[in-house]
């Protein structure tokens, strides 16, 4: 009985007793979730357009953040450094398309996956060579991002503290998702992108240039990586350890579906909030540390019952 009580009743009693604390936990989870969602978004873009699971998305986040901070350290003004970092992602996209995707066209998926793992190690080496291996401070203030925090007082006298940078992250994520949705559904290139996602060869046959589309997609994923790098860097710092955190995007994708942009966002939020609440209220039961594996457990359960994820595209098959 005692065990059942501590699992099923006690956590909820705690939540009800301290709603301000609960709200704070949910907010923290929400913010973490948004960052997971941003990383997952980068995966989804590339997966949709080329069917490649891009293992290098995590290192692209680090590389983008490093370029920005590194350029600033070399004496480039912050805004110019931002524009140059976007340029770096564009060059990277073109190089990946030219030297990795194009020679491997028509090869099995597993070969492309291996190629992205190779790219990961290449980018780690290149990043360390150019910018050094030590963690760097994100140039939050220089970029004009808000710092500081606002505290809200609750009815019962408790406090909920919102960091301004977190609010900014949420807003930027929202704008990016909205922008991508418009881009995909309303523009000529976006339509071509979806066509490529549906059927490579048919897209080729109607004159859509795969090379052009791939370069654009990798560039878009690079922009998303840059935004993620800035936001995540501002919360901790810019270091190669981020690359491992990026693997959290995997359960997010399984939950939300590999092909769905809204799925990436909602999956990210569920994982982010779920693991924070799990850690705080249930973590004590197993000695803590739930946060690092809960997401993968949720993903496993989803794989068993809904393999295409919450929002994954249903496979349309005519018989």
């Amino acid at each position: 009985m005692d065990v059942l009580y501590t699992i099923f009743i006690d956590p909820f009693v705690q939540m009800a007793e301290a709603p301000d604390f609960l709200l704070q936990v949910v907010w923290e989870g929400f913010v973490a979730g948004i960052l997971y969602a941003l990383i997952a978004l980068g995966f989804v873009l590339i997966y949709k357009a080329s069917g490649v699971f891009n293992f290098a998305q995590g290192i692209m986040v680090v590389f983008a953040g490093l370029s920005l901070v590194g350029l600033h350290e070399m004496g480039v003004p912050a805004l110019l450094a931002l524009i140059m970092a976007i340029g770096v992602m564009a060059i990277l996209a073109i190089c990946i398309e030219k030297f990795v995707m194009r020679p491997l066209v028509g090869q099995p998926d597993i070969i492309l996956l291996m190629a992205t793992i190779g790219m990961t190690y290449f980018l780690i080496g290149l990043g360390e060579f150019i910018f050094g291996g030590e963690p760097k401070q994100m140039i939050t203030e220089e970029l004009g991002l808000p710092t500081g925090s606002t505290a809200f007082e609750m009815d019962n006298g408790g406090l909920v503290i919102l960091q301004h940078i977190d609010i900014a992250a949420a807003v930027i994520a929202l704008i990016m998702v909205g922008g991508l949705a418009v881009f995909f559904n309303r523009t000529r290139i976006g339509r071509a992108l979806r066509a490529v996602a549906d059927d490579h060869t048919a897209a080729l046959s109607v004159g859509i240039s795969l090379n052009q589309i791939w370069a654009i997609v990798w560039f878009a994923a690079g922009i998303v990586a840059l935004a993620t790098g800035i936001m995540w860097g501002a919360r901790s710092d810019v270091s190669f350890a981020l690359e491992i955190v990026a693997l959290k995007a995997l359960p997010v994708l399984i939950l939300g579906g590999f092909t769905s942009i809204p799925g990436a966002v909602i999956g990210g939020l569920i994982i982010g909030i779920g693991e924070k609440i799990g850690e705080i209220y249930w973590g004590g039961l197993v000695g803590g540390g739930i946060e690092s594996w809960l997401a993968y457990m949720i993903a496993l359960i989803f794989l068993l019952f809904r393999p295409q994820g919450l929002f994954g595209e249903k496979i349309i098959e005519r018989i």
Binding site: A195, D198, T201, A202, L204, S205, V206, G207, I208
Partner: protein
């Protein structure tokens, strides 16, 4: 001097497409086409006939250059479209020049709506939205059924409608030449007739030339003006459609009309031997 070199003899003015002795190898080892030559006159409908695996699709893909994505390669010979050698050009370039392939098995973009599918066909065009809108209306006039279904996802439309989407999508690129691969595949006879009627109309009204790969020899030879018969990577017979329809070999092997009643197995064997010798 250079002018002359660019326009070889084979590209006489009334031919829109000529294929000169091409050889295709897949994966560096599998020889699929062993020297295929054919030509399509400007404004003509030419049929490319043959059984499964004869090399019809490979021939079309060698022309449209979709082969590369399947690790195939044209190792010998020339493809000349509108007087210029086009082997080595990307499919994108070819569509820009007016030569587009409609692939076997339709290949619609299943998650896009019918209208979005048509719009993807206009990807290479740069003449503005108004012209593209006009052309969508034109496609709907040819395929009224698509107008009714413009908002539905192409993956949920019927086989005949998907074939119409595929042809309509190709039309959106304003082609002068369409390489049409097995339009009759998996369709009811009535629908096959309907599709071919539209092909004929497009040919007459829009002046689009067609190279038509078909297994359905009967229908293809009724609509085409000229035909080639392909067998294991070689052209074994060609001629006017009417002449081919009356050819004894074609009747026997492709139209299923045996001459006088049933032949004995011995005679069939003899027939095949004679044919191989001729090839």
């Amino acid at each position: 001097m250079t002018e002359e070199a660019r326009v070889p003899e084979i590209a006489s003015p009334e031919k829109i497409l000529s294929v000169d002795n091409i050889e295709v190898i897949y994966d560096h080892v599998i020889l699929v086409l062993k020297g295929v030559s054919l030509s399509v006159p400007l404004g003509g409908i030419t049929a490319l006939l043959g059984a499964n695996g004869a090399g019809k699709t490979t021939t079309l893909k060698a022309i449209s250059n979709l082969l590369k994505a399947e690790r195939g390669e044209v190792t010998k010979g020339k493809v000349i479209f509108k007087g210029e050698e086009v082997q080595g050009l990307s499919p994108n370039d070819l569509v820009r020049r007016g030569c587009i392939q409609v692939m076997e098995g339709r290949h619609c973009f299943g998650h896009l709506t019918v209208e979005e599918n048509l719009l993807t066909g206009a990807f290479t065009r740069r003449d503005g939205n108004a012209a593209i809108k006009d052309d969508i209306e034109m496609v709907y006039d040819y395929f009224p059924r698509l107008r009714e279904r413009r908002g539905s996802q192409a993956g949920y439309t019927s086989g005949g409608e998907q074939q119409m989407v595929a042809i309509g999508r190709a039309l959106m690129s304003r082609p002068t030449m369409i390489l049409l691969d097995e339009p009759s595949m998996g369709l009811a006879p009535q629908l096959v007739e309907e599709i071919f009627e539209i092909v004929k109309k497009l040919n007459e009204e829009q002046g689009v030339s067609f190279l038509l790969a078909e297994q359905n020899t009967n229908v293809a030879l009724r609509y085409a003006k000229y035909g080639y018969i392909l067998e294991s990577g070689r052209i074994v017979l060609d001629g006017d459609a009417a002449a081919l329809r009356n050819n004894e070999d074609v009747k026997e092997f492709y139209l299923g009309l045996g001459g006088e009643g049933r032949r004995s197995f011995r005679e069939v064997k003899h027939y095949k031997r004679r044919k191989r010798w001729l090839a």
